[in-house]
Symmetry: C2
Subunit: 468 residues, 2 copies
DNA sequence: CGATTTGTGTGTATACATTTG
DNA sequence: TCAAATGTATACACACAAATC
């Protein structure tokens, strides 16, 4: 005798009672999955409460719990105690970002490349490496986490960001994303929870989904994630880790202030979270932002995996990132590196090493900063910042948009107009809040002029849009 | 009122009733985990049956099931219905094989390298690549799964093994192990089961363990895994995939006969398994073994991930493998590649491409085959093959040993004598059978003389050992 | 061969925590 | 502030399947 709102309002999903086969929970889960992937249940739809559906199907409600749990593990739905169960915003699509098959007629303001103009400098260094007498030493199975002199160069590189570590507690891996994959597989188990900003790196969201690790979105302000909110969530549920990009968060361009770093570190220490610190933008912040003191790794060395990728700062095609970690995490991380990569290409690592040791890496960085500054200035011309400023040298910007246009419509129309952008929904670690943004990449066009054309199109579109 | 063997024989593990906190299942699982990792419960030890332990602790037996299940997920224990629950053979150690921190005084017959003498040829080609006009095109984010001409070269390369595919259904990734990691994450979920040979590639075992994928060991004979056994297991439990190395299984050097390939393919098709075909040794078999017809991919293109690594055949330090897959697996695999690697180094891929297109790769292969043949002949001098012969050009051999010496003792004593080898336990996908082997790598010494010294030490040791 | 031992899979009962109004 | 709505966590009952003797 169900007494509830669905007496008046029909349930959003009424699975056919006869379609149910034993085992019930599997049968229900796969029916629900079909419904969602076919688009019959739209993202955001509220599913019937467990007890409702159980009454309707005349089975115990915990059997529904189990069916829902299966779909939850696949990222199709999410649940909030007290509120209900809902179809995930990105349930029926993948939000992974990659530069595969991009229509060439479009100006790409979606994918964040790294001002690839500087690759000519890299090309020169490649030639230098191939002239080395020890070239064949770079071609065998040895030194899977990096050759000692390569590690030393990496440590020097990171010293300028404030990292103090030794060669035994660092490893060279195949890029930041690879480092994240290694850290997640090494240190977390399916079902574990990781705290993140409400908007976070889309590929991290997908990676976590793939590995069945749940993300817990934590609110923040202009200085970063809010420590009290993190504290609250840690007390409420069992959270195992936290993912942060302190130097310039992707996609919001927010920098975590030094005070906030210390406050967050206190909470992380108290609850013994594992901190994944993706510091790919350190080169834009350390030594530039007057507030910058040190990475969070230095505050919590024993429970942090510090990841310093060179794709944005030095060269995107050479897949090299440095991982730094505490002794207690060391064994598991090395293990995961061997199981996922065997080793990182010594050749790629050697070229990055050469660039660092010869000083060319610093040249590249200053060139990229210059390009980034010009691009940001240009962006400001079109879209003057309102509200708290983000990172002044960011390779992308976070543009608040108003109106009630759907993501799909906007992205499609912009593509027809000639530019690709990403909507904020793509970066949602949990369910959707009310406000909307676009992430505008500034580093992917071949020239400032092409960027200008792109921004022009965007401006035009948004102006028209507001007028409608 | 328990009536069972433990009335007379004490239970192998009696957790302290008072140490139990709620929730019981977590408490029991962590007590058990401690006991095992501290070495207090030796590998192979039979744990108390679920009902026994439940009686003893005065709780429901399914609560024990749950506690055991947690430890099972961590690979600490395994269970066989009807027989009982046992501590895993490799519970307290990692069996991952890598060339990290190897004592240099030892002759290494453990790790399988790839006759690194041929790397001089590779070094020459590296220089050619750096002279290319399009070098800077290799340094950006584009073409994450390989540049079209690189893919074409890969397809040509694999055509000589009998692979027919197109560029949309292949991807270049960072080595075979990386390909396996990608395939497992992309196509399987935690808790899924994959059939393997009883002895299989140790890093695959560890990788599966890390990802909480269960391996189901299937018996085989000299022609490979037994189709009837596979069929039986598929009917009994829900098996999702199968891992095979048809051209030369690691570590047993067994080749799957063409007839057996077809028989296995029939079972795989019937039960809709996903086949992971690691064909890293194809270059030693295709065109050489008269029985070789085609890879299993050609028999089951829609449900196979074919992996062709170049580490053994061409160069180990350049991390390049080709993955080939059917349309139905395509999306998930590409997705996983982007999430784990973002992209594979175009530079490494370009060097391999250059080697293939210039014909140097074939030179390297024939050089390696020659080295492999000499090494195998030498091995035969010391240890004449008894029983069915393995692969004649294998980079390692599988040496049956008798006696009741423990793995640990044997490996330690051999290391003291100056050689490193791996015991068969390291390659066990399930629990331990009665017979023992050593895997002897032939491809890791710097010269035939060094190999001879190593084999001499081994021979001496085993002779003395049998005399004892 | 059939009873017993032993692990597995599925559905259920109950206490609890959070959100909402 | 408290009750109702709603999801979560834990323990249990029972039918079943495989291995063993």
């Amino acid at each position: 005798m169900p007494v509830n709102s669905f007496d008046n309002f029909p349930m959003s999903w009424k699975p056919d009672r006869k379609a149910l086969k034993r085992p019930f929970y599997l049968s229900i889960a796969s029916l629900l999955e079909q419904e969602i992937t076919n688009g019959l249940l739209a993202p955001g739809t509220k599913l019937p409460p467990q007890r409702e559906l159980a009454d309707f199907l005349d089975i115990n409600f915990t059997t529904i719990t189990r069916a829902y749990r299966l779909c939850m593990a696949k990222g199709l739905i999410y649940a909030v105690t007290g509120s209900g169960t809902f179809v995930s915003p990105n349930a029926a699509r993948s939000i992974t970002i990659s530069r595969d098959k991009i229509p060439s007629e479009c100006i790409d303001l979606a994918f964040v490349a790294s001002f690839e103009q500087s690759n000519e400098i890299v090309a020169e260094s490649v030639k230098k490496v191939t002239d080395k007498s020890y070239l064949d030493k770079l071609l065998n199975y040895n030194d899977p986490t990096g050759i000692p002199h390569q590690k030393k160069a990496g440590l020097n590189w990171m010293a300028s960001f404030g990292i103090r570590a030794d060669a035994d507690h660092m490893a060279i891996v195949s890029g930041s994303q690879n480092a994240l994959a290694i850290a997640l597989v090494a240190l977390f188990e399916p079902g574990n929870r990781i705290a993140t900003d409400i908007y976070t790196y889309a590929n991290f969201i997908e990676l976590a989904k793939m590995l069945h690790i749940k993300l817990v979105p934590i609110p923040g302000d202009q200085f970063g994630m809010l420590p009290e909110e993190l504290e609250n969530h840690c007390c409420q549920t069992d959270i195992h880790g936290i993912f942060l990009m302190p130097s310039c968060s992707n996609p919001t361009t927010m920098m975590i202030s030094d005070l906030r770093k210390r406050e967050l570190a206190a909470v992380i220490r108290k609850h013994r979270l594992i901190l994944l610190e993706d510091d790919i933008h350190a080169f834009l912040t350390a030594g530039i932002d007057p507030d910058y003191k040190q990475p969070m790794y230095e505050l919590l060395p024993e429970q942090t995996v510090y990841i310093s990728g060179t794709s944005k700062s030095i060269c995107s095609g050479l897949r090299v990132a440095y991982m730094v970690f505490g002794e207690s995490l060391r064994q598991k991380i090395l293990q995961a590196i061997f199981n996922i990569n065997v080793k990182t290409s010594s050749l790629d690592a050697e070229i990055i090493t050469e660039l660092i040791l010869s000083g060319k890496a610093f040249e590249i960085i200053s060139y990229k900063k210059q390009l980034a500054q010009s691009a940001n200035v240009l962006y400001e011309e079109y879209f003057p910042q309102k509200g708290p400023a983000g990172h002044p040298l960011s390779f992308y910007r976070w543009l608040p948009i108003q109106g009630h246009c759907t993501e799909e419509k906007m992205v499609t129309e912009l593509e027809q107009a000639g530019i690709r952008v990403f909507h904020s929904n793509r970066f949602l670690s949990g369910h959707a809040p009310a406000d909307q943004y676009l992430r505008i990449a500034l580093s992917s066009t071949n020239s400032l002029n092409e960027l200008r054309s792109g921004l022009e199109i965007l401006k035009q579109y948004l102006t028209n849009f507001y007028h409608v």
